[in-house]
C-alpha cells in the first residue's frame, strides 16, 4: 500500500524535482525579474509624467496590476510544459523517475504559486515608490483640481482588498479568480499544444467564449418564453407587458455553489486535465 502510494507522491522525489527544475530554469527566471521590473518602472513612470492630476490612482494601479498579471502569467503558464514540444527534451522530462502528479505539482508550484508571489513582490517593489513619487510631485508642485480643490494623495492599491469601487470583487476576489481560471487554461495549453502553445491557447479560449456566447444567444435565449432575458448568472427576468418586472432566480445557496464551482473549480478542472494529458503524453 505504502509502495503504491509512493508511486504517486514522495516528498523526497518532489523536492529533487523542484531542485532540478530550478537549476534548469534559474537563469531564465532571474533574467525575467529585471525585465518585469523595468517594464513596470517604464509604464508607471510614464503615467507619473503624463498625468498631472492623479497619476497612479488606485484604479490605474489595479488595471496595471491585473493587465500585467494576466499577460505575464498566461505567457509563463503557456511555457511551463514546453519541453514536451521537443522530442529530445520531452523524453528527458518524461524519463525522469517521478510520477505525473509530482511533475504537475512541480510545474504548478512554479507557474502558479511562485509566479504569483514573485509578481506581487515585483509589482509592489515598483508601485509603492512610484505612488509615493506621484504623491510628492502633487504636494511639492501644489497641484490642484480645476476648481481649486486640493488633490488627495493616492493610496497604494491592495490586491487583497479587491478592485477599487467594486463591492463584489472586494468580497470574492473575482478578478484574481478570473486570472487563475484563465492561467490554468494556458497551463493546460502548454501540455496540450506542442508548438505555439500561447497563440493556440488564445485561439482556443476565444473559441470557447464564442461557443458559450452563441449557446446563450442562440440556444438558451431561444428556449426562454417571449420577453424573458437572462439577467445575472443564475437569474432570469421579464419585464412582461406590464411595468412590473418578474424574476426567476436560483436559490442563493444553489447560485453560490454554481458560481463557486465555476470560479474556483475551473482551475482545478484544467489542472486535472493537464495531469491526465501528462500521463497520456507520447513522444
Amino acid at each position: 500500500m505504502n509502495h503504491q502510494y509512493n508511486q504517486h507522491f514522495s516528498m523526497k522525489r518532489w523536492s529533487s524535482l523542484l531542485a532540478l527544475h530550478w537549476a534548469g530554469n534559474r537563469k531564465r527566471y532571474l533574467l525575467s525579474l529585471p525585465a518585469m521590473l523595468g517594464l513596470l518602472v517604464i509604464w508607471e513612470g510614464f503615467l507619473v509624467i503624463m498625468d498631472r492630476y492623479s497619476p497612479l490612482n488606485d484604479g490605474m494601479q489595479a488595471v496595471t496590476y491585473y493587465s500585467g498579471l494576466l499577460a505575464v502569467g498566461t505567457l509563463y503558464g503557456s511555457t511551463i510544459f514546453s519541453d514536451l514540444g521537443s522530442k529530445s527534451k520531452g523524453i528527458a522530462w518524461l524519463a525522469t523517475p517521478a510520477s505525473a502528479l509530482e511533475k504537475l505539482l512541480c510545474a504548478l508550484l512554479f507557474a502558479v504559486l511562485a509566479f504569483f508571489v514573485v509578481y506581487n513582490l515585483v509589482f509592489y517593489l515598483v508601485d509603492i515608490p512610484m505612488v509615493e513619487l506621484g504623491n510628492r510631485l502633487i504636494e511639492r508642485q501644489h497641484r490642484v483640481w480645476a476648481g481649486g480643490y486640493p488633490i488627495e494623495a493616492n493610496p497604494v492599491f491592495n490586491v487583497f482588498k479587491g478592485m477599487p469601487g467594486d463591492g463584489l470583487d472586494r468580497g470574492h476576489h473575482i478578478y484574481l479568480c478570473f486570472y487563475f481560471m484563465v492561467q490554468s487554461a494556458f497551463v493546460l495549453g502548454s501540455v496540450y499544444f506542442e508548438r505555439f502553445a500561447f497563440v493556440k491557447t488564445v485561439v482556443a479560449v476565444l473559441l470557447c467564449i464564442l461557443f458559450f456566447a452563441l449557446l446563450e444567444e442562440q440556444v438558451i435565449h431561444a428556449t426562454l418564453p417571449n420577453g424573458w432575458n437572462q439577467s445575472l448568472f443564475s437569474e432570469w427576468m421579464s419585464s412582461g407587458d406590464t411595468l412590473r418586472a418578474k424574476a426567476v432566480r436560483l436559490s442563493p445557496v444553489a447560485s453560490l455553489v454554481l458560481v463557486g464551482l465555476l470560479i474556483y473549480g475551473t482551475p482545478l478542472v484544467f489542472w486535472t486535465a493537464a495531469y491526465f494529458r501528462i500521463k497520456e503524453k507520447e513522444v
Binding site: A23, I91, A92, L94, T96, P97, E282, V283
Partner: protein, 281 residues
C-alpha cells in the same frame, strides 16, 4: 524481462508494427538492427513507455511501460538518439539527476567517465555532441538500470571512442541486466552483442544469439567462384569471395554482422530455416 506480444503501432497513416512479438532476456546485449525508418527507435520508445501500443501488449520487469511509474523509470533507462543537455556544470547535472536513481553508483560513473577520458570539470554546453553522448552513456551505466535501451549510441563518436564504448559496455553486463543497442552502424557492435535481432517492415526478420549463428552458419573466404554462386550470401573482397554457407561440418568461424545483415535482408526465409524453429519469431 521484456515481453512484447502482437504489437501494432502506426504514425497516423504509416504503419510501423503489425503484430510484432519479441522476448528479451536478462544477461544479454541485444543488437537491434534494421534499415532507417523500420521502427527501431519506435520499438525502444515503446519499451521505455514513451509511445503506447495501439494494439497488443508490452510488459517490462512486471510493469506496464505506459504507466511510467517512478519505480519503472528507475529500472529502465533509454539513451535516445536525439538529446539535449542543459547549460550546467557536469558535476551538478550528475548530482541533480542521480538522486532519482537509488542504485546510482558515483564510482561506476567515474570509472566509465575515465574510460571515455571525459574531463572531470566541464560545462555540458561547452562539450561536443560526442562528449555529451559519452556523459549520457556513463550516466546510463551508473544508474544500474536493469534494462538499458540505447538508440544509435555510437553516432557522433570517433573511432577511438567507439572502441572505448565497446570496452565500457562489455564491463557493465551481468546476469540481472539487459542491454538493447539499436544501430545501423553494424560494425560498431561487433564483439559486443551476443544476440542479433533484425527488424524490417514491422516484424522481426531474424533473432538469434551469436553462439547459435556461429553454430549454424559458416563465414569464410572462398577462392572458388562455384562456391560463391551456391553460398547463402557472397560478396567479392580483395582476397576472394566472402561467403556465408550452412555450417554442416561444425566448423568455427566468427560471424560478420554486416554480411549477416545483408544476407538476412536478401534471403531471410532460407536463413531462418537453418535455425531451430522455436527461437525464430
Amino acid at each position: 524481462m521484456v515481453s512484447i506480444h502482437n504489437l501494432h503501432f502506426s504514425y497516423r497513416r504509416k504503419p510501423v508494427f503489425r503484430g510484432l512479438s519479441l522476448e528479451l532476456e536478462p544477461g544479454h546485449i541485444y543488437g537491434l538492427l534494421g534499415r532507417n525508418g523500420m521502427g527501431k527507435s519506435t520499438l525502444l520508445r515503446s519499451i521505455a513507455g514513451f509511445l503506447f501500443p495501439q494494439e497488443g501488449e508490452i510488459g517490462v520487469l512486471g510493469y506496464q511501460p505506459r504507466k511510467r511509474q517512478p519505480d519503472f523509470l528507475q529500472r529502465v533507462f533509454l539513451l535516445p538518439e536525439e538529446f539535449s543537455m542543459p547549460p550546467m556544470e557536469l558535476a551538478k547535472w550528475v548530482h541533480l539527476h542521480s538522486v532519482f536513481y537509488p542504485r546510482f553508483s558515483r564510482a561506476q560513473f567515474m570509472q566509465a567517465a575515465a574510460g571515455f577520458e571525459l574531463p572531470a570539470e566541464c560545462r555540458l554546453d561547452e562539450m561536443s555532441y560526442g562528449q555529451q553522448k559519452k556523459v549520457l552513456i556513463c550516466f546510463a551505466l551508473a544508474t544500474n538500470a536493469n534494462l538499458l535501451l540505447m538508440d544509435e549510441p555510437t553516432n557522433g563518436l570517433d573511432v577511438v571512442s567507439k572502441s572505448q564504448f565497446r570496452k565500457v559496455m562489455a564491463g557493465f553486463l551481468d546476469e540481472e541486466r539487459c542491454i538493447v543497442v539499436s544501430t545501423h552502424q553494424i560494425k560498431d557492435l561487433e564483439n559486443l552483442i551476443d544476440r542479433v535481432t533484425i527488424i524490417d517492415e514491422g516484424t522481426i526478420l531474424f533473432d538469434q544469439t551469436i553462439d547459435t549463428i556461429s553454430e549454424r552458419l559458416l563465414f569464410r573466404i572462398s577462392y572458388d567462384p562455384g562456391e560463391a554462386s551456391t553460398a547463402l550470401y557472397s560478396e567479392a573482397s580483395f582476397r576472394g569471395n566472402a561467403i556465408i554457407e550452412p555450417n554442416t561440418a561444425g566448423e568455427d568461424s566468427r560471424p560478420d554482422l554486416e554480411m549477416l545483415y545483408k544476407a538476412v535482408m536478401l534471403r531471410s526465409e532460407e536463413l531462418n530455416k537453418l535455425f531451430p524453429a522455436k527461437s525464430n519469431q
